[in-house]
């Protein structure tokens, strides 16, 4: 492979990570507010199908993207309503929606399978695209990939540098304290769950109107991505930059699987495609193991200097979920 092909490949990795970034950032915002949206796998599929159907009918990819966001918001609204108002388990409702939305997208999408709808194209940025190395990687992408770069920074800035972001973190960590300070906790949880769902919903049209253009039902290759998104959200420690790193790492590993395929003919392609999953488990293990009790106990037995080094590594890797994640806030 020559140099320019490598640069294009890296650009391709960034583009194929874009939908994952939208979904992970959306989920991160929702979970920061304490709402675990487990429906992600079905949500992405039905947003992909619905936005493709609308783009097909209206011949407008913009309407397609808006549909994706709207469906994502609607699915998340059901999760929020069931858990915040009806006090049902977020995991149960999210899981059912993950299954339901998947089958719904296959069922409603079967008449439009294989049809051709408008798709968004690459928009090279003048001048910047000519920068050696960086140009082909960063500046010959489509609109949504550029937006995915912006979204990472924007989400980080919002969560950590603004007052509403401070309140957002507060309602996920200590809702009672946020309530006493005057925040309408439940209303904000609704807001962030729905907004997060709308952002995540854009992942659907990014697939069906761009990087995997079209709708191919069960062989669309989108089933499973939502579950990866949920793992990356944990891996990302509910921080946008770390989450983005997880998304790029995942896309890179998938690309690597494709590249290595010809040199490893004895391994079926399906196996290499799932290679990132065991790695994901391992990373989740490293991310979480610092929270386990027996680790703390066995660390306490080690000599001071060794203990401090190991503890430092574990703390750097560690990710602790928002304390009130999954628990609806009750005033009484």
């Amino acid at each position: 492979m020559n140099d320019s092909a490598i640069l294009i490949s890296i650009g391709g990795v960034l583009a194929s990570a874009a939908p994952i970034i939208f979904a992970v950032i959306g989920e991160t915002i929702s979970e920061r507010a304490g709402v675990l949206n487990l429906s992600m796998n079905g949500l992405i599929l039905i947003c992909a199908m619905g936005s493709f159907a609308v783009a097909l009918a209206t011949d407008s990819s913009i309407l397609g993207f808006l549909t994706g966001a709207a469906i994502g918001a609607l699915v998340s609204l059901i999760v929020a309503f069931a858990s915040l108002t009806l006090l049902q388990s977020q995991v149960a409702v999210g899981f059912v929606l993950a299954m339901l939305c998947k089958d719904l997208s296959y069922f409603l999408g079967s008449p439009i399978m294989g049809k051709v709808a408008p798709r968004i194209s690459q928009v090279p940025i003048p001048l910047l695209e000519r920068i050696p190395i960086l140009g082909p990687i960063f500046f010959r992408q489509d609109m949504m990939t550029y937006l995915s770069f912006v979204l990472i920074v924007l989400a980080w800035f919002f969560i950590f540098k603004t007052k509403p972001g401070l309140i957002l973190r507060g309602i996920g960590e200590r809702p009672a304290a946020a309530y006493i300070r005057g925040a309408n906790v439940t209303r904000l949880q609704y807001l962030y769950a729905v907004a997060g769902g709308a952002i995540a919903g854009l992942a659907g049209p990014i697939y069906s109107l761009s990087i995997k253009a079209g709708w191919k039902g069960t062989i669309s290759g989108l089933d499973g991505i939502g579950w990866i998104v949920l793992s990356i959200t944990i891996f990302g420690g509910w921080k946008p930059f770390r989450a983005a790193f997880g998304a790029y790492l995942f896309s890179f590993l998938q690309w690597l699987g494709l590249v290595l395929q010809p040199s490893l003919p004895s391994i079926p392609s399906q196996v290499l495609q799932v290679a990132p999953f065991p790695l994901m488990i391992l990373t989740l293990l490293f991310v979480n193991i610092g929270n386990a009790e027996w680790v703390e106990r066995s660390l306490a037995r080690l000599p001071e200097n060794v203990r401090r080094d190991i503890a430092k590594v574990l703390r750097a890797l560690n990710a602790t979920p928002p304390a009130a994640l999954g628990e609806p806030f009750r005033k009484e």
Binding site: A82, Y106, L284
Partner: protein, 353 residues
């Protein structure tokens, strides 16, 4: 306070309302797809009970579904979401196939080989479940994400075996490994093409064991205590993680048995989608019956009937068979929402009095 009878009556009322509402939503979906809802429902019903053969197909798919649900009732009781059950079914199927491949050319009695293969499957499911359990208890990895990851790994392992070491002589294909000799099939009922009475007995015994375990044993009581409040259970002397591991292990045994049934009684070989989604469907059944063993068998039968009944939809009405999943999902969602509405309704009544 509303009386117990009022409470019970409202429970039934809300359940019925939830089912009707689910039917309404599914009908709207059908209308969106330009289909007359009643013709679709009729096609599903006829597709499930239209002939003896179809009815026996329903039973064939009921067995692994009920086995998976039975196991899940234990993990749900202890408060765990064993989403990894799909992988546990797959590993059960892989271990069963492995044992049969090792023994199929031996002089041993075929029945003995089948028994060994089934136990191997149970072992495989148990080991895979305990892996998810160990990740949870010793690694702090949430069982949902650990389990999901292990599902993907199990699928990859399965496909690798089918296309690699266990491939058909000549060419490997998605249709799976070479079928086993007829002598190694689970005995089929006379006059039927697929029905295997042995496996039906297994499923019934399985759910009975789970029912007795949960309702009539000290072990079941301890599982419930851990599920309700792990901290106080621990303080009262119920070792938490041991009970979680035990419930994972038993659930894995059930899942492994479901996988073994798929290999020995349904497909007679290993295929890429050997778990057939019964694990995820089992989670839905368990949720629908409110995690209680008493209703699991009939509801699982109903879900199996929906699955079998929808297979003919593409041929009869040119509809995608995923309609079964839409109906099942809507039903579970509406029942969950109904429970929430009912709790709100009872609370309002209490405050009014």
């Amino acid at each position: 306070m509303p009386s117990l009878r009022e409470k019970k009556a409202s429970g039934v009322l809300f359940q019925i309302a939830a089912v009707l509402f689910a039917l309404l939503i599914t009908s709207i979906v059908l209308l969106l797809a330009n289909v007359e809802p009643f013709s679709a429902y009729k096609a599903i019903i006829l597709g499930a009970v239209g002939s003896w053969d179809l009815m026996s197909n329903v039973l064939v798919s009921w067995v692994p579904l009920l086995l998976a649900t039975s196991g899940l009732l234990l993990t749900f009781t202890v408060g765990l979401w064993n989403i990894g059950i799909e992988g546990q079914i797959t590993l059960g199927a892989i271990f069963t196939t492995w044992a049969m491949r090792l023994l199929q050319n031996s002089e041993w009695n075929p029945s003995l080989i089948l028994v060994i293969a089934i136990f191997a499957g149970m072992l495989g499911g148990m080991l895979w479940a305990m892996l998810a359990g160990a990740l949870k208890t010793f690694g702090g990895v949430n069982e949902i994400f650990g389990g999901l990851g292990l599902n993907f790994v199990a699928t990859a392992l399965n496909i690798w075996l089918i296309f690699g070491p266990w491939k058909r002589p000549g060419v490997a294909s998605m249709s799976g490994t070479l079928p086993f000799d007829r002598s190694l099939w689970m005995p089929i009922a006379t006059g039927s093409s697929r029905l295997t009475p042995t496996t039906i007995v297994m499923a019934i015994v399985g759910i009975l064991i789970v029912y007795v375990l949960l309702e009539n044993t000290y072990f079941g009581l301890k599982l419930k205590a851990v599920g309700k409040n792990p901290r106080s259970a621990y303080l009262l002397g119920v070792p938490t993680w041991q009970h979680m591991m035990a419930s994972f292990a038993i659930c894995g045994v059930f899942a492994g048995l479901a996988g073994a049934v798929q290999v020995t009684a349904v497909y007679h070989r290993l295929i890429p989608s050997i778990s057939s989604g019964y694990g995820y469907l089992g989670l839905m059944v368990a949720m629908l019956v409110g995690y209680k063993a008493s209703l699991a068998a009939p509801v699982a039968l109903f879900f199996a009937a929906l699955n079998v009944g929808s297979i003919q939809l593409p041929i009869i009405l040119r509809l995608d068979s995923s309609l079964a999943g839409v109906l099942q999902g809507t039903l579970v969602l509406c029942v969950l929402l109904g429970q929430g509405f009912r709790a709100k309704f009872l609370k309002k009544k209490r405050t009014m009095q």
